[in-house]
Amino acid sequence: MLLVIYLVTILICYIAMLTTYMPQAKYHNGMLFAVMLPSQAMDHPAIREVQAQFKKQFRQVMIGSLVALIPLVLLYAQLAYQTIYFLVWLTVFAVVIVIPFRRAFRATLALKREHDWFVGMKRVIHSDLRVAQLKNKRSAPLWLFIIPFAMSFSLIGWAASDPTRDLGLPIASLIMSVIFFLISLSMRKVKGKVYSANSEVNLSLNQAKRRLWSYCWLFMAILENVHFLLIDQLMMNENLEWKGVWLVVTLLFTAIPLGIILTVNHRVKMSEQDILANDGKIIYSDDDEYWGNGFTYHNPNDSSVFVTKRVGIGFTINSATSVGKVFVWGSAIVFAAIIVGVSFLLIRSELTSPVLTITAEHNVHIDYPMYSYDFKVDDIEQLSLVDSIPKGTKTNGEATDQYARGNFRLKELGRSKLYVVKNNPPYIQIKLKDLYVFYNEKDPAQTKKWYERLQIQVQK
């Protein structure tokens, strides 16, 4: 189950990288490896050599990263280590995959300097007066975001009206709406692109592009709200078949947004090509010097935070602005914190197991990081040794193929705390006032021993 999610994520990243970097080896829109070049430079043997080198190295990296996936599959039984391996793989992949491109970019830039292959004017900024004024005229109006926000708030209100329900997902859906709203807001501020000396062309292309993207973000915000509503419903329904449905929903709601973004990007590219093919007044400007590595943008002469990417889809951040710096470092820190934090939690839960103790004051104490629990022996209403635990869902805790620890909601029993090794009967079932506690040890003999001790305590 988890492996499928990891593999789908990896597949998406893999395809994204392949479709982003592979076409860079072709001369397109006046650029090769994100370097502006005149078309006659393409016949130079040194350029051909760079292309051949890139193709070879890129193929090696793509195959190498596939081979590096084998341990991920082999770690099937070791969920925690599998997750850590997955995170490490993604990080290493993201770093390694750009190496061939970066080399090709540097080599091409060096050749360009050597042969003085400059296109257009250097250090010139362009703006179309009509684009600057009217670029957002045909975009989706921001007030339409009332729809996703209303959806999020009704989901929160609905969940809040039922005390047994978790507010996490509805709040997450609100956060998603806010994120898409902020994306729309910041995209409106992105500078218009000057394609041509013809104002009509600039205006129609910029407006069409913004119109498509703005409706795309609005639609995504609505779609994510539906997605969260579905997950919320699936979590509530303690259906035995929910795992299959969940998988379908996850795959569907990954594929649809991805498809939308790719389609929008394709349509924008096509309309650019169509219109510019008939326009003899295309304006090129040489801003290679601001594109470090070919894909990061650092331009102190530009006050805009978001700029359209040269390689790949969407936007990147100008790391020369103070807001850009906060973004770059902030996301690096958050990313590192997530990886380190998740790895730490996973390893800890893999290495520690719950410890049950009975204190002299007739208290039962179950010690486990974050989910420790205490109760009095006198509060035990019923004590039994059972061979199975009813199915249920996790509300807050850890559940892997081997363990279940933390807070769960079980079928027929309701609110429960589980500290069990799965498929390893017997289990000690303790009934407290409106709460069940399940506990077992890896060794069934030990579990029985604890059960007897608890029984003696209860009878006292």
Binding site: V124, S127, D128, L129, A132, K189, K191, S303
Partner: protein, 126 residues
Amino acid sequence: MVISLELDSETPLYEQLRNQIVIGIATGQLETDEKLPTVRQLAEDLGINTMTVNKAYALLKQEGYIVIDRRHGAKVGTRTAEDPKHAAHLEEQLQLMIAEATIKGVDQPRFQALCSQIFARMTYQH
């Protein structure tokens, strides 16, 4: 119309912007009464400081090329009557230009031919 500002030029950015808008009006790329972007919109689009755009707009307004309305923003101004002060200023500027041209070996016919060529590009209608 497309504004192109050279970052390495000795002419300050606000002056380049002002000059290009003036040329834009005279050559008909900007029509009379055509609306211009607001200071903030243009600064955002060029990625330069709003103060720079503000300075250019203030200059253009002061010289009567554009009008700035509190409600409708900036737009290209309507025709202005000939200004005697401007004529004096023009003579002063021309004198320097012609002096430079004479020293550099540009004679009167060539200078005038150049002037006619440039005048031909100006489609501004009074």
